[in-house]
Symmetry: C2
Subunit: 235 residues, 2 copies
């Protein structure tokens, strides 16, 4: 009789599979990621894999859903908060989102790397769609609240929500370029790049919402300092 | 001795290949489009195909380049015009672009259909990148001109250009939904959808450029009437 040691719980095994698949996707295009490769990276048996997933496409979908769920958790929390001032509520949304992103900077850097693998285009489009599907209702609700209270003046709720999300999506490639500059020794330029990007996003957000500049506030730029610290590995 | 009749010129043959490949892409994902299928649809020989292209990937790239070149021609023409007023210049850019799009509505509808084929995601991303690469310098130049003359007040030239192009990219799915409504008998709703979309884009453009509402003007909404005419097939 074989005694299996260190046997994982089903939940831990599923997480190990998703972690392994996500990791593999950051170093190779999806078409090269096999069930055998995932199983080896996760340290589980093929039987264990097929207990949770019916195919590699099935894992792909689960990886995408998990990334999208993670990205939206902060926004949902801020929507539930009780501020009655729409400006404070929107600022809180941006600050919570920034804090979540900073504490998951390693995972976001991995997604940016993933996006650069040629064959991963369908995956990235799916991730964008899943993320939009979750984030659009939140941003629309925040805008709608501000409109209903005659605080925001937007041209078109739907288009404005699309554009606000588009601004946010382009944030991290800039932050990671800033980190590369700092790691290469030019911390001052990296710092200026982050400062300008944060200010630009704050300015565009207020303009799109029909507010005075600096009404809605982004997270303080100093929060991003760890990104430029060569001694600080991304989590 | 075999006499070949109706022999195409090399240029005509190349165009026939690109036309056939573009047509096939509107009804099936790229992975199902074969050299044999393109050759049959273009009415040429395999030898004729390989005279111009080394592989199906090679045709794909040429199809994308041609679509992107077409889409940018109107913008380039308006950049070359002599208006010294940045507002008139930007309006002219939008109006020229709208005219080009309307006279190529059939091709644009085909691209929107192409985008809905699952396997075409990499192609669509490539098309978006190629189109951005051509359009961004034009829009940045138009914005830069308006800033230099202290007429436009934008938050950030690069981000603003990205957002202005993003607004335009989302235009046609709305127009085609409006046409479907009209073809189904509800012309009034289709007309309202187009009117609201054009007004929203005009409003957002002026806001992003830091102008009064209705300073920069989009093409007159009446220009879009043919889209709603059931008797008028898309070209």
């Amino acid at each position: 009789m074989t005694v299996k040691r260190n046997r994982m719980s089903p939940e831990a095994r599923k997480t190990a599979i998703l972690d392994a698949a996500t990791r593999l996707l950051t170093v190779q295009p999806w078409e090269n990621v096999t069930v055998a490769g995932i199983v080896a990276a996760a340290g589980i048996s093929k039987g264990g894999f097929y207990h949770h997933f019916i195919s590699r496409e099935d894992v792909l979908l689960a990886v995408i859903q998990r990334l999208a769920d993670d990205s939206v958790a902060a926004g949902q929390a801020s929507l539930a908060r009780l501020e009655t001032d729409p400006v404070a509520r929107y600022s809180n949304f941006l600050i919570q989102e920034a804090r979540w992103e900073l504490s998951h900077a390693g995972k976001i850097a991995a997604i940016v790397r993933m996006a650069k693998q040629d064959g991963n285009a369908p995956l990235l489009i799916r991730l964008k769609e899943e993320s939009l599907r979750r984030n659009l209702p939140i941003v629309r609700a925040l805008i709608g609240d501000g409109m209903a209270k005659s605080v925001f003046q937007v041209v078109d709720v739907g288009l404005t929500a699309d554009l606000l999300l588009e601004v946010g999506r382009m944030r991290w490639p800039t932050f990671l370029r800033a980190r590369q500059l700092a790691l290469a020794g030019d911390r001052a330029s990296g710092w200026q790049m982050i400062r300008e990007r944060v200010r630009a996003e704050e300015g565009l957000t207020n303009r799109l919402l029909g507010l005075a500049d600096r009404a809605v506030r982004f997270a303080p730029v100093d929060d991003y300092a760890p990104l430029l610290d060569p001694g600080c590995a991304l989590p």
